[in-house]
């Protein structure tokens, strides 16, 4: 690992000033579980590392019925995993957070960092797409809000400029009869990355089982997490049935563009998108009906 200068700003302004001064020669550090590995492997060799964990705004972690869930950029996955509000209002976020790495890794790694790394198998990506999350970022030109689908732009690429940093992830509040679910398919029970990840968020009409709205997002089957709009459309305005789920799974698999690699073939991944989409939608709808 090449040496660098370590900075630990205590305020957002200080962090922005450092980014403005050092730009592309600096790297931001939150949990460190991606960055320290990349430093070790000489994949990156910054002259400056800016540790953002000491900035109080970035540790904000709040739930509010009007504004939804705020996840500061320095909040680790473990906070989401053990939060009663997350378990109650965002079951899919709970599932995704508790699937990440190990207890140790979840104590360190952050959802914001996970989105900034923007790996195609990104753990928290699909559920954030399914919940229409957005990111609040800041830099020398001021703050801006970026919808999640515009934030991740490609494999390990984001819309974040070299002099910007993420302040927080904002997840809108769920509708009155809405719930979410996430399923990660992997070989080992723990400490593994997803072959396929499927997130679904389903909202039911008041009083019956008709689906008012649905969002489905797929992970690890395209360069970025993707939504499956045709599958979502097939659900809207219909009551859930086996026939509809069959169709939704098939349509979702068509929107996937998986690659073949050592871990799985294209056909297998597509088939799994279909199966997991059916399961995730059914589970989200079941949870929503209990509200």
């Amino acid at each position: 690992m090449r040496d660098f200068e370590y900075h630990a700003p205590k305020t957002l302004d200080e962090a922005v000033a450092l980014l403005e001064r050092y730009g592309t020669s600096a790297k931001l550090l939150a949990g460190g579980t991606d960055l320290v590995i990349m430093l070790n492997d000489h994949m990156v060799a910054p002259e400056h590392v800016i540790d953002v964990k000491g900035i109080p705004e970035l540790s904000r972690f709040e739930w509010n019925p009007e504004r939804g869930l705020t996840i500061g950029a320095a909040v680790p996955f473990r906070k989401l995993e053990i939060s009663p509000e997350v378990q109650q209002h965002y079951p899919g976020v709970y599932e995704a957070a508790s699937e990440v790495g190990s207890w140790q890794i979840r104590n360190q790694a952050t959802p914001a960092g996970n989105l900034c790394t923007a790996s195609p198998a990104c753990e928290i990506g699909p559920i954030m797409y399914a919940l229409d999350a957005q990111l609040q970022v800041t830099g020398p030109r001021g703050q801006r809000t970026i919808p999640i689908q515009e934030f991740i732009t490609g494999v390990r690429r984001t819309a974040l400029q070299p002099d910007e940093l993420v302040i927080e992830i904002q997840v809108p509040p769920p509708g009155a009869r809405a719930a979410s679910h996430y399923i990660k398919l992997k070989e080992r029970q723990k400490m593994d990355i997803a072959f396929v990840g499927v997130a679904a968020s389903v909202e039911l009409e008041p009083g019956d089982g008709v689906i008012r709205d649905a969002r489905i997002a797929l992970g690890a089957v395209a360069p970025t997490p993707i939504r499956a709009p045709a599958a979502e459309a097939a659900l809207r305005g219909r009551p859930l049935s086996d026939d509809i789920l069959e169709q939704v799974g098939r349509v979702a698999a068509e929107s996937a563009q998986p690659i073949m690699d050592v871990r799985a073939s294209v056909a297998y991944r597509k088939e799994m998108v279909s199966v997991l989409t059916r399961r995730a939608v059914r589970q989200a709808a079941t949870l929503a009906a209990q509200r």
Partner: protein
């Protein structure tokens, strides 16, 4: 760039000079001379380097030393009360929850953190807690046994049934094997038929 930082390890201050890139694992081993935390993978996968940071387990191979300044760091060296072993250490010995011992400091620290949060974990909860601690000697069954033994022991102590901590290295079955093997140069009991 070298800077002076102060780490608080096992309640003791350690003023040390580090580089920006110095990892907590290296600072502990090479600057504080606390070699209990082991380097296995350096990628956060094995848990051999586990230490507690403000009571929570982290992989010290992925933490920069400078990031850990100002936090309470607990390493395996800090869990016993002098010569008196921590109940989890005692249980790993009595249940035979180790073979080569490389994973053991990490296993014990994660187990202590687990029992601090959940005094009476199920076997599944123990497995879930230890998901980031790999043992290449494959002693998982006995490791889970050890955590169960420790949980019972700690519950008994809290209920005041026996306050005294017993360490009986001479009669402990986990210690008898190697000692005898050394003395005779032959096979340790229990290794027969392997």
């Amino acid at each position: 760039m070298r800077t002076l930082i102060e780490l608080t390890v096992n309640g003791q201050p350690y003023p040390i000079d580090v580089e920006g890139r110095t990892r907590l694992l290296d600072a502990l081993r090479e600057k504080c001379f606390l070699t209990g935390a082991k380097e296995g993978c350096s990628t956060g996968d094995c848990g051999a380097c586990t230490v507690l940071l403000d009571g929570q387990p982290v992989t010290s191979c992925l933490v920069l030393a400078s990031s850990a300044a100002g936090k309470e760091i607990t390493t395996i060296e800090g869990v016993s009360a002098g010569e008196v072993l921590h109940p989890v250490q005692q249980a790993f010995m009595s249940a035979g929850g180790l073979q080569c011992g490389i994973c053991t400091p990490g296993m014990i620290l994660t187990s202590i953190a687990l029992l601090n949060e959940n005094r009476n974990p199920t076997r599944d909860q123990i497995r879930f807690g230890l998901q980031g601690n790999l043992c290449r000697c494959t002693g998982y069954g006995k490791i889970v046994d050890a955590v169960e033994v420790a949980a019972k022991d700690m519950a008994t102590r809290e209920n005041g049934h026996h306050m005294e901590v017993k360490t009986e290295p001479d009669t402990n079955p986990a210690m008898a094997g190697p000692a005898q093997a050394d003395a005779t140069g032959g096979q340790a009991p229990g290794e027969k038929g392997r």
